[in-house]
Symmetry: C2
Subunit: 417 residues, 2 copies
Amino acid sequence: MPEFLTLLPPDEARELLLSHLAGLRVNSESIDSDQALDRVTAEDVVAPHPLPEFPRSTVDGYAVRARDTFGATDSLPGYLTLIGEIPMGGAPEFKIQQGQCALIHTGGMLPEGADAVVMLEYTQPAHKNEMEIMRAVADGENVIKVGEDVKADQTVIRRGVRLRAAEIGGLMALGIIRVKVARKPRVGLISSGDEVIAPSQSPRPGQIRDVNAFTLAALVTKSGGDAVQYGIVCDEMSALKEIAARALTECDAVVITAGSSASTRDMTAEVISSLGAPGVLVHGINTRPGKPTILGVCNGKAVIGLPGNPVSALVNGYLFIVPLIEKLLGALPKVQAAVNARLVVNLSSQAGREDWWPVKLSRSGRGDTQSKSEYSAEPIFGKSNLIFMLAAADGLLRIPPDATGLSAGEIVKVFLI
Amino acid sequence: MPEFLTLLPPDEARELLLSHLAGLRVNSESIDSDQALDRVTAEDVVAPHPLPEFPRSTVDGYAVRARDTFGATDSLPGYLTLIGEIPMGGAPEFKIQQGQCALIHTGGMLPEGADAVVMLEYTQPAHKNEMEIMRAVADGENVIKVGEDVKADQTVIRRGVRLRAAEIGGLMALGIIRVKVARKPRVGLISSGDEVIAPSQSPRPGQIRDVNAFTLAALVTKSGGDAVQYGIVCDEMSALKEIAARALTECDAVVITAGSSASTRDMTAEVISSLGAPGVLVHGINTRPGKPTILGVCNGKAVIGLPGNPVSALVNGYLFIVPLIEKLLGALPKVQAAVNARLVVNLSSQAGREDWWPVKLSRSGRGDTQSKSEYSAEPIFGKSNLIFMLAAADGLLRIPPDATGLSAGEIVKVFLI
């Protein structure tokens, strides 16, 4: 198998692939901000005005000039003339002058002249239109100043941010009801193999239903792409070439899951090389599962060949398709969802090879404060052809290339899938 | 403020709310399995047949009777008669008898009589129709047996599982192209406050745009629910009652974000109590932010009153709306996405109160093997009215009620938001 002569480590392989796509990203589209959850911003978002736009009280109380409360205590209260109440949602129609105060509610607009608010509980009515103030406040106390949340022209959301609830709220607060986001990258999915049939069909002996097109479609969707299904192609060069060429024209990237035999894998490599320059960049990754993965670039678009085994295909989808989509989206690096867990068995690994183990997580029962690991991680042993092995897994455990294994009891990082 | 006399800890408050909804879950619907990503199964999924349905080879090689290879080595190979090649996607038309072998590809169907496969690299052609076998194999070696992935009638996916790529692949492998999932719970969202306007409008002095309806809608969507917007209601009891009653009829749960002043919060409580028995269950939570949160159940449906401050509303959305939706979906407990990080400053907290701090995570640069924390966590200080404070956060850090703070340098768990 000459194609396996130079196996690249996964990180290096991914870097090589992405380096050939430098500067490439999908174009943008404007969508309603309230529909933009999980989409990636295509440009910096700048505040059109400060937030808040007017000074607001953060408490229920009395708007005052701070210096008028100087020295006020329970035993020696100050006295201020109550000149009115500030309506919610409106501007006060009066100014606070020396010795005056006004009733204000949380979120209410501070009247001109006032610079602080005394909380309700530190006040009480004295005489008619007079309030007893039992606590001194500093300038700005219990007030949000103009621009304290954001200033006008401040960049509030950078390009490449995947929008969450908080960012969508921020857009709304600023009245930005349309937002420019990266178009969803279209990823064409092709399954090949004479033995593969559609899930809706009944397999005859020797046939299996297609799994990879659907696991990978879910992965593409979850990562922010649009999966485009090109169906199942038989193990025939011309058929695979034709459909792959069409997919490459119509999509931003193409993924071919090969039939599992060596000959069909070779065919995938040949097809990728025929689609355009530079063709195959990586043929074989030093990882388990996923050694036969092929990474290529044809006419400026990524084409990935994945092994037919469902576990290999999905694990290598996490390793290569997800970062590819993030690259096309122009997404900034994000914090990966992972948990620390205590490994329950020894795991051996070949030095130089990066292993990815599906693991099941269980709560250890008690919080282990020393290590902060509430979970134990149990690797799921099985052949990489077994899709339900992955369905039983909560995450993937990485054994780095420089390790020859992990020991039972070690705290390991499990990436949630 | 009499409503704050008995502040419940958040866990207790949540438990009380959910205990009033015991047994409640939304009904189910059948959908296409390839559209079922992130949906929650409404019943156990049982395998209609074993997987694989026929014995398959996991390698390229020769199908043999294991006992015929006994003792075979490089120096003392065995010899087997080659009787044919097994086509991919079909059943072999021959049986393997004593002393025979057949060429088989990865994923190919084992012929009758054969019970193992010798890898290609341990074989070479000897004479015409004769193969030299240089390695002995055990019964079952390089073979996936019938039912090795799943057995017929085995429960392969439990009720309450949120479907990921792997489960969708599993469904496809079994030909289950429709799946019964929990209908998305409808969560009605009402914003109240005389000062609140729609994001598309231009605020006059004293007015602010609605944020909470949109942050909470994103949270509901992300958690697997359907957000139903009921718009903004002014601070008038009859208007709020009317819209809340309609939302309660049309939805599975209702969330009211109150105007931020004490009087409007009281109004929310009164409205909840008027909607049906038992009404308000919890009025005030011993947490920061979010003290004024109200939890109620009216005629068997949850009604939640959240503070108007965007940070409080969203943090309390994570604490109460997310678990409520999971309860309605019948979702099994899942592993929460979190990372361990090193806190960079001291954080104090009032004993007995649970604090939730928005924090920003940064890569520490070097992987800290001792603690497995690659990140440092920096709390974002600011008033809970500032929505961009949350937009700057990667996650939330919990200070438990029994702690009076956390120290700089401590390893803390940050829940990703």
